[in-house]
């Protein structure tokens, strides 16, 4: 399989007061197109930071992230924003829907940045909601939906621009068992049926079990990698 993502010697240091705190140290990771990777590790191990750097919403202190061989870390703010729209869909633990917008309007949001007619935007947003089984909730506001429905809306929003990479940061962390299972089923379908590459941070071993590969972090270093992907950390 072709490598979609390459993380090369990525380190991240935060300044906290007068102290520098090293969150990631020399991370190397290859992710193939169509991989479903679970990132696990204790709190503070750097998994979310790694996910953010891969998703282009944070930058490495050193090292680089390549997508299809192109160095994403070198892009300026505008180019990186455009890259995110085209290539990455985010699913957050807190759902992160805009409360003033309905489900379909939330899903439409990323499409505002594309040169697309209003009718086409709406059609694609409704299709994405159909994929996650929420057509009947299209015109409901987040406050009128359950947590599971909000998260599925957030998955639809991540999906609507047809990105190759979906980044999910503890997507089931706030959900009950049934809703969590639905969301995991959905992510599995996106990976299996739509061939989306998925990177998911989770604390839940059963959630990680849905992925075909599990990468473990501890104290900012990659300590284990197990699964069926053709590539291994270097």
């Amino acid at each position: 399989m072709d490598s979609l993502l390459s993380v090369e010697q990525v380190s991240k240091t935060y300044a906290r007061g007068e102290q520098d705190v090293r969150v990631l140290t020399d991370i190397n990771l290859d992710v193939d197109a169509g991989d479903y990777v679970a990132l696990m590790g204790p709190s503070g191990s750097g998994k979310t930071t790694l996910l953010n750097i891969i998703g282009g919403i944070d930058s490495p202190t050193s090292g680089r992230v390549l997508m299809d061989g192109a160095d994403v870390s070198q892009l300026d703010d505008a180019a990186l924003a455009a890259w995110r729209t085209a290539n990455v869909g985010f699913v957050f633990q807190q759902y992160n829907l805009l409360p003033v917008l309905t489900a379909v309007e939330n899903v439409e949001l990323p499409l505002l940045l594309l040169d697309m007619a209003k009718q086409e935007r709406r059609r694609r947003a409704l299709t994405a909601l159909e994929v996650v089984g929420l057509t009947h909730r299209a015109h409901h506001y987040p406050r009128q939906m359950s947590g599971g429905e909000e998260q599925r809306t957030s998955v639809a929003r991540a999906l609507v621009t047809d990105p190759r990479l979906i980044i999910a940061d503890e997507p089931t962390g706030n959900l009950d068992a049934v809703a969590a299972s639905n969301v995991l089923d959905l992510l599995h379908t996106l990976n299996e049926t739509f061939r989306k590459t998925i990177l998911m941070v989770t604390h839940d071993p059963s959630a990680a079990g849905r992925a075909n590969r599990t990468v473990r972090l501890n104290k900012g270093t990659l300590v284990a990698d197990a699964g069926t992907s053709t590539r291994r950390p270097r």
Partner: protein, 375 residues
């Protein structure tokens, strides 16, 4: 424009804050519009004064209304080179019904006056005016303000002055269009001011001769019982309105203060809004919105709220101006479309300027800081 639906939804999010911001900016624009209308009134008065017309006042008086010059000066003045005509105007300020409604009354020699200040009688006729000693020609702006009509008897508070409206006139000179013309003999008797005028109107043959004619008139009358100060009508108008000019300056200071306070108000509103929505900014950035998009959203939101406030303020000002009619019985209060557009521009400017700093700060936040994503 693509973000307009999001902006519209966002301003409805915190209705109380939006209403307070709209109210604050509306109040500011109301004050601004009131000031602009006074400015427009001043401008219309100055612009309607004649280029080759002089006014002769009593020398050394701070208040032109108390000036008195003798009508007999006319013969001396008409002998000055380049002078083609002169006549006296006896001016009085009278209260109609209450002290809140001041009316400027000018006693004139009708035939001489209309040669120097052409007027057009729109309703009634000049013959009726000439025939009645207490006849009055009312400027059309004043007639419209108070609903006066031909045939009406109007009484004023002071001097038991009563007039009979015999005509409604228009004039290029807005000073007279906002007042009443009476026979000078009639007004002189009532004011016990016979043989005297508040000022003399003098026409010269050439605008280039205004300065030399002014000097010649004052020189010719220097040894008379009441020496004179002669100046162009425009300069005389400025002198007459000096007391109001002070108010105008105060209003200008208030205007600047109002704008500054409004900018801070808008900035505060946007700052609070941004603070409440830091996470949302992060969400939008994670979806691919650039920093410039975030600024467009926040500044657009502030500008829209300011525009709504501006529209309300302008509407309120227009309603007030429609009822106030004039300032001190002299300055017409109107809000020309260009000035209203200026008021609207100031409102939107307040919204934009107030939003710039908080918007830049919000746009500069790193996405992970906005989302508080740290592990």
């Amino acid at each position: 424009m693509r973000f307009l639906p999001l902006i519209l939804k966002s301003i409805r999010r915190n209705r109380r804050r939006t209403l307070l911001t709209v109210g604050g900016i509306g109040l500011s624009v109301f004050v601004i519009a009131a000031l602009l209308s006074v400015e427009a009134g001043f401008a219309s008065l100055f612009n309607s004064t004649g280029e080759s017309v002089l006014n002769v006042y009593e020398k050394g008086l701070a208040c032109p209304i108390t000036s008195r010059v003798f009508d007999s000066y006319v013969s001396t003045i008409t002998s000055v080179p380049n002078v083609v005509g002169a006549t006296g105007v006896l001016r009085g300020i009278y209260s109609y019904q209450s002290k809140d409604h001041l009316v400027t009354v000018s006693g004139v020699d009708f035939d001489a006056f209309r040669k120097l200040k052409p007027i057009v009688i729109r309703d009634g006729n000049g013959a009726d005016f000439v025939a009645r000693g207490d006849g009055a020609l009312v400027g059309r702006r004043l007639a419209a303000d108070y609903g006066w009509h031909v045939g009406q008897t109007v009484s004023f508070v002071e001097d038991r002055l009563t007039i009979q409206v015999t005509g409604i006139f228009s004039s290029d000179d807005k000073t007279y269009e906002g007042g009443v013309l009476l026979h000078k003999d009639y007004l002189s008797k009532i004011k016990r001011d016979e043989g005297r005028s508040t000022y003399l109107i003098v026409a010269v043959s050439d605008p280039g001769a205004v300065a030399s004619a002014s000097r010649s008139i004052d020189s010719a009358l220097a040894t008379f019982p009441k020496p004179t100060t002669t100046q162009s009508e425009r300069a005389a108008k400025q002198l007459e309105l000096m007391a109001l000019a002070e108010i105008r300056r105060m209003l200008a200071v208030m205007l600047v203060a109002t704008i500054i306070v409004s900018i801070f108000g808008a900035a505060n509103s946007v700052s609070m809004s941004v603070r409440d929505r830091t996470r949302e900014v992060g969400i939008l950035r994670s979806l691919g919105l650039r920093r410039s998009h975030i600024m467009q959203l926040l500044i657009g939101e502030s500008a829209l709220v300011a525009a709504i406030g501006g529209a309300i303020g302008l509407a309120a000002a227009a309603a007030l101006l429609a009822s106030a009619k004039s300032l001190g019985g002299m300055i017409p209060l109107v809000l020309p479309p260009a000035y209203a557009a200026g008021g609207m521009g100031i409102a939107i400017g307040i919204g934009v300027i107030g939003a710039v700093v908080p918007s830049v700060n919000a746009a500069r936040l790193r996405v992970v800081e906005s989302l508080r994503l740290v592990d």
